[in-house]
């Protein structure tokens, strides 16, 4: 498991998935959680007669932003500055971490509160803070579970989705030193509450992410379910928000669409329990210093790719993760990235070197369930194929790649399929070549090399004695038939 800022290599998707598929408890947890959220999502989107129009509007708002990102980012900076906040620009993860550390150190703080933020996971913020002796406290319940359990998120919205209640209790009991902690959900939330409350009152600096940055007003919008986020936004003296540059939206009014589609897609709720918009600094009320770090970290490179640009429309609802039949089997850790599931499979290989993440665009059966649920209509299968094309072109640029079994097989297949006569010859050859592999059952039960993956769990019927084209050629020409 590595975050996006590190260059640590991790196992490719099939290898990581193979290990996770053996964890039956994890699979049960993931399946249960994604079933529950998907079911809730289906009912609250199904009740809206204009759901498809909302998706279309959300898509257009986000598309428009990406086409005019330079304009809206500058507008956001101007508006936030007028409101008493300060914008910092970070080209990459290191720069974002340096800015954040500088701001914390300027207040001589050695502790910070954290609001759930995937962007801070992306840049490895907690580790960078720890390296300079600053302790970060995750305040989102799920993030707290993961921090105490020393784990990484496996889901964008529900980061500890792979854990069940008993596993959470065990982590709390061990890490909080609560020997007689109860088993009920109320016992666990009470334990988290008393652990966190004390820190809310003590720690002077909070770091958040952002769901939306409003260019028109300079506002930062955060939606959440627990209220701990709002606690972090109101109690500390200093607030630092770290957000990807693509998070900006033009107008306050655009929230009308996005705050309908985001909660319905993310948690299956009509509205989030807590919707907060922070706009600058207000004397005597809330944080007296407000910083926004705008992070590029590879995003501007994606803007140049006409096919893949739509990746940045994402509003991080994770509906694609819940709907994805691949994610539902493996959970998020198989992707080796903070962004898992279908969106991770297209986003991560674009934020990081493609050759190190080459297995991710292939971690999909292209079933299209992700596109169907996406509230901003990102055609994820289309982008996956586009990225597969890039992977293949990169592979073909080296001699080893050219001589690789996949490339050779595909070139051979392409040559055969260019001509009906060659396909016919291949069919005849195949019938001979398969003979040693046909088992007593009359089926192929074991194949060598690449194809062994198929026969590990699946039999294969042998090629029939006569292909369709052979049958057709022997067919007498009919009066009403169109024999050739």
């Amino acid at each position: 498991m590595s975050d996006l800022s590190s260059s640590n290599r991790h196992p490719d998707f099939p290898t990581a998935a193979k290990v996770l598929l053996e964890d039956s408890q994890l699979r049960k947890n993931v399946k249960h959680a994604t079933d529950v959220i998907s079911g809730k999502r289906a009912s609250v989107t199904g009740e809206l007669p204009d759901w498809q129009q909302l998706r279309e509007s959300g898509s257009r708002i986000r598309e428009h932003v990406l086409r005019h990102l330079d304009t809206y980012l500058v507008q956001f900076e101007e508006a936030l500055t007028r409101a008493g906040g300060k914008v910092h620009w970070a080209a990459d993860a290191d720069e974002a971490n340096r800015i954040a550390i500088g701001l914390v150190q300027a207040h001589s703080a050695d502790e910070v509160l954290k609001i759930k933020s995937m962007t801070s996971e992306e840049i490895g913020l907690n580790r960078a803070l720890a390296e300079v002796g600053i302790r970060a406290y995750e305040t989102d319940l799920a993030e707290l579970i993961l921090q105490l359990g020393k784990e990484k998120p496996s889901h964008i919205v529900v980061p500890a989705l792979h854990k069940n209640r008993q596993q959470v209790r065990e982590i709390f009991r061990r890490e909080m030193g609560l020997e007689d902690l109860g088993h009920r959900p109320e016992d666990l939330t009470a334990a988290a509450r008393s652990y966190l409350r004390e820190r809310f009152l003590r720690v002077p600096v909070a770091i958040s992410g952002a769901n939306f940055l409003i260019a028109e007003t300079g506002g930062v919008c955060i939606v959440e379910s627990e209220g701990n986020g709002r606690m972090c936004l109101t109690l500390p003296k200093v607030l630092i928000a770290i957000a990807g540059i693509e998070k900006v939206i033009p107008r306050f009014q655009d929230l009308e669409v996005l705050l309908q589609t985001l909660p319905r897609s993310a948690t299956g709720e009509r509205m989030n329990p807590y919707n907060s918009v922070w706009t600058g600094v207000h004397p005597g009320d809330g944080p007296q210093e407000f910083h926004v770090i705008l992070l590029d970290n590879g995003r501007s490179g994606i803007l140049h790719d006409d096919e893949a640009r739509q990746t940045l429309k994402c509003i991080r609802c994770a509906a694609c993760q819940n709907a994805c039949p691949v994610y539902r089997q493996t959970g998020g850790h198989a992707y080796g990235s903070v962004y898992a599931g279908p969106i991770g499979a297209i986003l991560t290989p674009q934020l990081r070197p493609l050759r190190e993440e080459a297995s991710l665009p292939y971690a999909s059966s292209l079933c299209g369930a992700c596109y169907e649920v996406c509230p901003v209509k990102i055609d994820i299968p289309e982008v996956l194929i586009h990225l597969r094309g890039k992977v293949v072109r990169e592979e073909q640029s080296t001699l080893a790649g050219k001589l690789g079994i996949w490339n050779l097989g595909m070139q051979m297949a392409a040559a055969v399929l260019e001509d009906g006569g060659r396909l016919h010859a291949a069919q005849r050859l195949g019938r001979l070549a398969q003979k040693p592999f046909v088992a007593k059952s009359g089926f192929i039960e074991r194949l060598p090399f690449l194809l062994s993956g198929w026969t590990k769990t699946r039999d294969l019927a042998p090629l029939p004695e006569e292909s369709f084209r052979e049958w057709w050629a022997k067919r007498p020409v009919r009066k009403n038939g169109g024999g050739m």
């Binding site: 059966s365 194929i385 597969r388 297949a413 001509d419 039999d459 019927a461 369709f468 009919r478 169109g482």
Partner: protein
Amino acid sequence: MRVSLFITCYNDTLFPQTGKAVVRVLEKLGHQVEFLPAQTCCGQMHWNTGYLREAVPLIRHFVDLFRDVEAVCVPSSSCVAMIRDHYVKAARETGDQGFLAEVEALTPRVFEFSEFLVKKLGVEDVGATYPHRVTYHASCHSLRSLQLGDIPFRLLRQVRGIELVDLQGLDQCCGFGGTFAIKNADVSSAMLAEKAVSVLNTGAEVCTAVDNSCLMHLYGSLHRQRTFTRTAHLAEILASEAS
């Protein structure tokens, strides 16, 4: 109507009985079926695996061959999805305006078998008899790309003697996904295991679909488990008559 059959490379090679069934149904309805033996493959495997450049000659071959036909009927929704969803883009990327125009003119005349019957020919009852307990698996492309909706069910409901049973988790992928089944064999197998349980839970004798690719995948597991549940393409059911 003169109908040109695009059998698809894998049906041609592995499932000739499906092609024969399509011919039988269409001729029974009084249509003239032609088969152009120069045909090969729509290019889907190469395209979806990222061999985009290699798919283009296959696409050109398809377009050259079927350019002048009245209608192309294809017993595979995923091949039709390839043609409808990706041909225009592939042609556009070649920069060849003539090719693009040909693709745009041809694709509206390409139909998946069940939609050809119901939408183009306006037929739901093809006079079939099939006295078996059957469940229908909706392939992802038929569901989400072609959006066939209830079209296959409208055809199946007219079949004499058939007992249709609903498949739980109809919108869940069987895990085939072309080269995905090999590149991610373990995840694919895990998805398949769930689908096989759903199919067995129906107690159906036969699982049908409009794609033999899913059925080949599913039967791979059903046969490995030595169950008695079979698979059959929708065309084979519609071609069955009382014996």
